[in-house]
Amino acid sequence: MSKFKKKKGGDTPAISTASLPDIVFMLLFFFMVVTVLRDTSIKVQQDLPYADQVEKLEKKNLVMYVYAGKPSKRYQSQFGDEARIQLNDKFASVNDIQQFIYEERQSKREELRNLLITSLKVDQETNMGLISDIKQELREAEALKINYTTKEGDALQNMN
């Protein structure tokens, strides 16, 4: 009988929380690793065209991004639906590109400066006129390496 009595009276042992920090750190590290820090929020539509003759942009820190396309739905009342350029976080005009390139170049180490690539992330419905203007500005800023960033897929899909 005494056996049963003992159990009734015994207080439940506390669960050890010594490992809780480990779990928390693990989660923390995990999210630190998988989160791509996006310093820009994209304000233009980004329906990139498809292409299959592509090269990968491996070194992320050597890429400068130039976005272009129609402003997203929530900015259309403010900025209209004409295709615009976005540099960093804000809408820009064609004339701002050179300044942007110089600033980006300044922020990199000297030996890396001529390895920089400009990634053009352009919506597929944009007119080529705007892109030609961008390319002309890039030529003047001597940022000659460019990459038309695309989605991977059959290029003929763009025609529909």
């Binding site: 015994g10 490992s19 480990d22 090269e55 944009t126 080529m128 003929l156």
Partner: protein, 204 residues
């Protein structure tokens, strides 16, 4: 009998499990990378230079109008045929004597290009052309070059040009002679150099 506390679970190995998981995720997670068609823009020359003399027949003109329709060598063309047409032009090898091309398998039409080394594709688009169409055309033209390069690489080295370039980009995993590989890639590139010229878009 005296009251006895239940023995505590040993949590010492919890940290090990946590680190194991952490390392697992570190290894398996790949951050997505962007990819696209790489191009080199021509530098701006201050002094006016005369363009190098080019024979009419060595230029393959592709025009894209504002509706995304193609005019290739003065004929309307469907985008699906562009690649084959460009390949036929590049691979024509109609040159004689010094300009002969000994690896071309084309028709040798005297009205088409002499030699892939001389052949230039000129791309001209309208300011109102859609970017998507432009990328498609670029992609098809690059594909024409890639297929010809693959053919020659297969003939000379028994493997695809694209595979060679991939090996060269992953130098660490390649166990052959890297210098030799680089040389081979250059040879193929010299056989079919990518000469894509882009004119300023016309205003219509």
């Amino acid at each position: 009998m005296a009251k006895r506390k239940a023995p505590e679970v040993n949590a010492g190995s919890m940290a090990d499990i946590a680190f194991l998981l952490l390392i697992f995720f570190l290894v398996t997670t790949t951050i997505e990378t962007d990819s696209g068609i790489s191009r080199q823009l021509p530098p701006i020359n201050d002094e006016e230079q005369d363009p190098p003399p080019l024979k009419e027949k060595n230029i393959f003109i592709v025009l894209i109008n504002s509706n995304g329709e193609l005019l290739v060598e003065d004929e309307k063309m469907d985008i699906g045929n562009l690649k084959e047409s460009a390949k036929r032009f590049l691979d024509n090898g109609g040159g004689k004597g010094d300009e002969a091309c000994n690896y071309c398998r084309g028709a040798g039409d005297p009205k088409s290009s002499d030699n892939p080394v001389k052949a230039v594709i000129s791309l001209q688009n309208d300011r109102l052309t859609d970017y998507g169409v432009y990328i498609t055309v670029q992609n098809e033209l690059v594909k024409a070059y890639t297929e010809l390069r693959n053919r020659e690489a297969n003939r000379l080295y028994g493997r695809d040009f694209t595979a060679m370039v991939e090996d060269y980009n992953n130098k660490a995993d390649y166990d052959g002679d890297i210098e030799k590989l680089k040389e081979n890639i250059e040879t193929i590139k010299d056989m079919f150099p990518q000469k894509l010229s882009e004119a300023e878009p016309s205003r219509s």
